[in-house]
């Protein structure tokens, strides 16, 4: 067996793009993917002929449920002019497009293809909140759905176990949310481009305009602690602990390292990648970690020869605020039980020692589930190339970034490390 975890040839990202994320009643999956595709085309420094793309791998979780249409591989392929080339849909719940990315890398590493498009898309906003909750709950494990768990419910239970074990509390979840909004404010593709302070002021102005008494909050945490402004969803999680319902698409272009310079002088190398699988709440050994993340991370670190301390900027799957804290620990960035303290101390802010979710994360950038994994790669592409604009990480010698995508309630997780060389 291959214990070296080495790709047969090196793979690079040579282009990356995404649609805006948000709620777009007038746009369908084709429209959004075309926007992502055009954004990607514009990102390829030396240009290229899209006819040279040999295959498409597309992540999509459940457009079947959300818009009652399945079989999106050829539909999206046709939308961007790739018929009759092979189009393969991957499904790993909220990690669907991370799996597409991985399949694209493997297809190039195998020598089969020299140019592959990988992407993801999801349109969720046409359903009611209750229906989306039902659709997402399809990705819990069967016993959980039967007794009434929702997606937020699974992460609520996880937060309850984490609080009990480590002495953290709601105020530590708020630290994550405040940071997410500071970053989302600076991302022009994000669903929420406002800080909490701005949202609080907007609510005050709205009340005043209606002639109602204007609410007053001492600070962001007072706002988040106000059950009127931030109602409970699944104890201890409240509305602002949860990512929104979103539409969107993202895609990246992959090539073997040997021809990277035909496309750009600044490719991103896939230094290491891993994927893991996990079990339901009843069978997990530890309710405060995700075994699939730990397995994926171990594989990616082994393949890259890098360590957690080498990762300078990272997008993690913050579907809920508690999840971001736990990922910081599972990925080895901070010891178990220290994730919440690191956030409270500002270490994960854009100017901290370990900037996390500079895009605003799922919480503010948005979470069209099938597009999220590849959209994380788009953010790292911008950061490592120094093209992230206002939200550029101010770190000197930025060279190594990573993406962590989690599917369902932790059943599927990926971790990919990128390097600028």
């Amino acid at each position: 067996m291959n214990k070296h975890l080495r790709l047969a040839r090196e793979v690079v990202v040579v282009g990356a793009g995404m649609s805006p994320f948000g709620v777009f009643p007038e746009k369908d999956s084709k429209d959004l993917f075309v926007e992502a595709f055009q954004d990607m085309l514009a990102s390829v420094d030396k240009g290229f002929d899209p006819d040279d793309i040999q295959a498409l791998y597309l992540g999509n979780f459940s457009n079947d449920f959300f818009v009652h249409q399945a079989h999106w591989g050829p539909i999206i392929s046709d939308a961007v002019g790739l018929i009759p080339k092979p189009a393969t849909r991957t499904e790993g719940a909220c990690a669907s497009s991370a799996l597409a990315f991985r399949e694209g890398v493997l297809a190039i590493a195998s020598g089969l293809y020299d140019l592959v498009l990988v992407g993801g898309v999801e349109v969720m906003s046409q359903r009611s909140t209750e229906e989306v909750a039902e659709g997402l709950a399809l990705a819990t494990v069967p016993y959980e759905g039967q007794v009434g768990f929702t997606f937020p419910g699974v992460f609520g239970v996880t937060a309850s176990a984490y609080f009990h074990k480590y002495g953290a509390g709601r105020q530590h979840l708020m630290d994550v949310t405040i940071k997410s909004h500071l970053n989302g404010k600076l991302n022009p593709k994000a669903q929420y481009q406002a800080t909490l302070a701005e949202m609080m002021e907007a609510k005050r102005q709205k009340a005043l305009a209606k002639g109602a008494p204007a609410p007053q909050w001492a600070d962001e945490k007072a706002f988040l602690g106000d059950p009127q402004a931030n109602p409970m969803v699944a104890w201890p999680l409240h509305l602002f602990d949860c990512c929104p319902i979103s539409d969107g698409a993202a895609c990246v272009l992959l090539a073997p390292a040997g021809i990277a310079r035909n496309f750009t002088d600044h490719p991103l190398y896939v230094a290491g990648m891993g994927q893991g699988s996990g079990r339901g709440l009843h069978a997990k050994k530890d309710l405060t970690s995700f075994e699939a993340t730990q397995a994926a991370a171990a594989e990616a670190y082994a393949m890259s020869g890098l360590e957690p301390g080498d990762v300078q900027v990272c997008e993690v799957h913050d579907c809920f605020s508690i999840a971001e804290i736990i990922h910081l620990e599972d990925l080895g960035f901070f010891p178990p039980g220290h994730g919440y303290r690191a956030v409270a101390e500002g270490k994960t802010r854009r100017d901290g020692i370990k900037p996390i979710n500079t895009s605003g994360g799922l919480k503010c950038k948005g979470h069209p589930v099938g597009a999220t994994g590849v959209s994380q790669v788009v953010e790292i592409w911008h950061q490592l190339r120094g093209e992230a604009g206002e939200r550029q990480v101010p770190m000197q010698g930025l060279r190594v970034g990573a993406t962590h995508n989690l599917g369902g309630t932790g059943g599927t997780c990926t971790f990919t490390i990128f390097e600028r060389r």
Partner: protein, 140 residues
């Protein structure tokens, strides 16, 4: 009973008859709740049914205020949340369950680790649906 398959369907039939059942692998002696047809460690199918005591302790819980459509029909809502969680059974395995009898108006007061006992909840709006596995604080 020993000849029922070690399936989710059998687990549900037992619940419907007021029994919480697990199974033990006769090869490695590992206990499983819910039952499973193949031991994931030995990959052998030498299972036997084990009746669980129905006693346990609360590992983790949540109170849900945004119910899925089926539970909304049963009357749960923002003003009438329901609780679910993870219970570690006295025998050492865990189950996920609906939780009754917790003070949901003050979730901070719910003590993890407290003793719990099984309760079989009639499912559906009129109680004619599948039995739902439940737990409630154990009587002193």
């Amino acid at each position: 009973m020993q000849d029922m398959p070690f399936s989710d369907s059998s687990f549900q039939k037992h619940l419907d008859q007021g029994r919480l059942m697990g199974c033990r692998c006769n090869s490695c002696q590992e206990l499983y709740t819910p039952p499973r047809p193949l031991c994931p460690t030995c990959r052998l199918s030498r299972m036997e049914w084990v009746a669980m005591s129905g006693k346990g302790r609360l590992c983790a819980f949540t109170a849900i205020t945004v119910p899925p459509p089926a539970l909304k029909q049963e009357g749960f809502s923002r003003d009438n949340p329901y609780a679910v969680g993870v219970v570690e059974l006295a025998e050492g395995t865990r189950v996920v369950a609906r939780l009754l009898g917790l003070e949901l108006s003050d979730p901070d007061s719910v003590a993890l680790g407290q003793p719990m006992e099984v309760v079989f909840i009639k499912g559906g709006p009129d109680g004619s649906g599948d039995t739902v596995l439940g737990f409630q604080p154990a009587a002193e």
